[in-house]
Amino acid sequence: MPTPRSLRRTNPITFVLGAILLFGFYIFFFSSPSDDLPSTSTNGQQKKTASNALSPPSLPFRKPKSNNNNNPPPEVVHYYMSNLTTSRDPIANQETVLILTPLARFYQEYWDNLLSLNYPRSLISLGFIIPKTKEGSQAYALLQAQITKTQSLPKGKRFASVTILRQDTESPLQTQNEAERHKISNQKVRRAAMAKARNSLLFTTMGPTTSWVLWLDADIIETPPTLIQDLASHDKPIIAANCFQRFHNPETNSPDSRVYDLNNWVDSPTAKELGAKMGKDDILLEGYGEMPTYRSLMVWMKEDGGDPGKEVELDGVGGTALLVKAEVHRDGAMFPAFAFYHLIETEGFAKMARRLGWKSWGLPNYLVYHYNE
């Protein structure tokens, strides 16, 4: 007797479930993105979509509806830059990071490593500057393929925006090959060009909502996935990781690593004397036997099994993996393309920041690895 009845009867819970399901369907069908309207007031913390392509490159933008000239003029945008923070805990404060890379060659390992960073991608903007050479065009093609792949992912999984610039200044050296690149006679011209490229990239891509700038060279192929959080947690205006290079040691016939970026250093009296004797436009270079500076290089400060959080105050920095608070750049600290206190590019940058009252720091036991050619 009770069996057929229980089949026919419908529990009210079913209705409730059905209603919830229906409601879910409605949301699915009719929901629209929350940031439907162009942002009229961005308070720095809000990461909104800009209404047009003229917006800062560090923000995504809406494609214009039509290509005719009747598009309404863009909204007046009010940015509250006083509310921008750069704190120890950048994720909790929703701080945006701009990762800048001067790119001459594209390494897949670089891109893979970039994707392995676990900082929220919606807070990361990327900027690349590529020379207008044949090699540069090849690198661009490879880079573009990867960007298309990543940026077609849904919203949370892609980067907030990507800007690619083609360099306007002539690249002084036709070859990017390592031996040629590191010749002392070529250094000043090469690094001046590099400085200009970095500045062009920096000043055109840094938007009013950017909190941090991470300089990451295109040949950095291995970093801890928490690179940004780790560097930011020290709350220093300028902080550099120690750059090494992995190689196969033929002597021990086993994988090994050796020092790479020599531009992170603490100044020495010898180097200062050397500078005092130099002409106005001469520069001091690090890592050349012809010019012994006796500076203490950060690469040699690395201790095996040392605390990765150990800090050292530096006078010169390299650009391989360098986290800078955006306000340092905004105050005017740039990469001098001329001899600034006999220093150039990233080393000159540290000096200029120092003149503006910002100190540079390094983490000798926190390693990133350079590509081995």
Binding site: R5, F15, A19, L22, Y26, I27, F29, F30, S31, S32, P33, S34, D36, T49, N52, S55, P56, P60, R62, K63, N69, P73, P74, E75, V76, V77, H78, Y80, M81, S82, K132, T148, Q151, P154, K155, R158, A160, S161, V162, T163, L165, R166, D168, K196, N199, S200, F203, T204, M206, P208, R330, D331, G332, M334, P336, A337, F338, M352, R355, L356
Partner: protein, 468 residues
Amino acid sequence: MYRHAYQNGNAAYPLGGSGTFSIQPHKFQPRSHPLKRRRQLMTRLGIVGTLFCIIVFFFFPNLRPGGTSFGLFSSPEDSQIETVRYYDLSNVQGTARGWEREERILLCAPLRDAAPHLPMFFGHLKNLTYPHNLIDLAFLVGDSKDNTITLLKELLEDLRQNPDPKMQFGEMSILEKDFGQKVNQDVESRHGFAAQAGRRKSMAQARNWLLSAALRPTHSWVYWRDVDVETAPFTILEDLMRHNKDVIVPNVWRPLPDWLGGEQPYDLNSWQESETALALADTLDEDAVIVEGYAEYATWRPHLAYLRDPYGDPDMEMEIDGVGGVSILAKAKVFRSGVHFPAFSFEKHAETEGFGKMAKRMGFSVVGLPHYTIWHLYEPSVDDIRHMEEMEQEKKKKEEEEKAKKERMDKIKDTFDTPSRQWEEDKSKLQNLAQDAKKVADEPKKQVVQPDKIVEARGEEPEAKVEK
């Protein structure tokens, strides 16, 4: 139905005791009936609700549930959002005829307590002849105590709402950043020698913040303009651009009241370097800043401002080393390559002068136009105001004196009759007397003709004749 009785507590049995022996219901009742009815009702309600929702959501998109970005209809929206930009910087080098090549200009204006000058400034903006849609406006408002921001927003919104598409500008952004400066902006403390170095450094900082946040890869030119420029040619952008220099400034003067000579050079920061100044720079310490236009540093530099000839060729160029910030047109590539306004002592200079020095250092051309002049607003200094007050008082004194003099004269006139009036009176009296005498003489004649009333009635004609 009975169940309800129990639930109400009105039953014959106590509530708790309805356990083992009560058989409810007492007779067969198909329990499905009320349920069935309820089910039907719910189905109907469901259908009606569904329809209602569909209709409402269809016609009023605003009511659609938001907050989530996954969805069938949102995916095309999602693809409307572009995240990748590609720019070739060799397209934005800046040429002599930028308006033909559609080169974009970034117009930068740092503001602080500038509300009184804003309407005038926007008047200038509207009058610019350079295609407005190619001009992006960026303002940095910092440490303002007046209503600069609200007024600026209103004016920009007005500009945007302009129905004429040719009057509409490109990107307009307001950047608000307080640096917490203590330096006063009034004329006296602004131009006092002691405050100069610090003030110039903080100004430089503001300029750098503005530029670094507003410069885009699309800009070919950057134009810096102070809001307190009173008179400038409408074609100033084209005029400066035509020279095709990396950094170029016009001459800046200001009008003065007549008692101060009518006009005066204003911007003394555009100058050519001199041997004396270089020698002086070597003697100063690392953080010292040379500021031009003060007796403390005698530099003997040729200033752009003093070289002005009102009838000179406005296209004449002059190489300079330091530039003034009132109106600078520079190619964007200058800023892209890293030249900025040093907020520290760069070769003993800061801000715009340091900018000129740094641009020179990086091999860019820095040029001034001595005979092409724009006019800065005249704001009287404290001395001027004192002087003007004195002049005002003098004027009042003079007026009072004149008034007193006049009153005195009137009084004199009132109290003492002038002889001429006496003469007049006497004259008229005499005339009256003479007339009376004549009348007396005529009286008998009149009486003779009196019987003839008609003559009398006709009037004065005969009488007049008589009088003559």
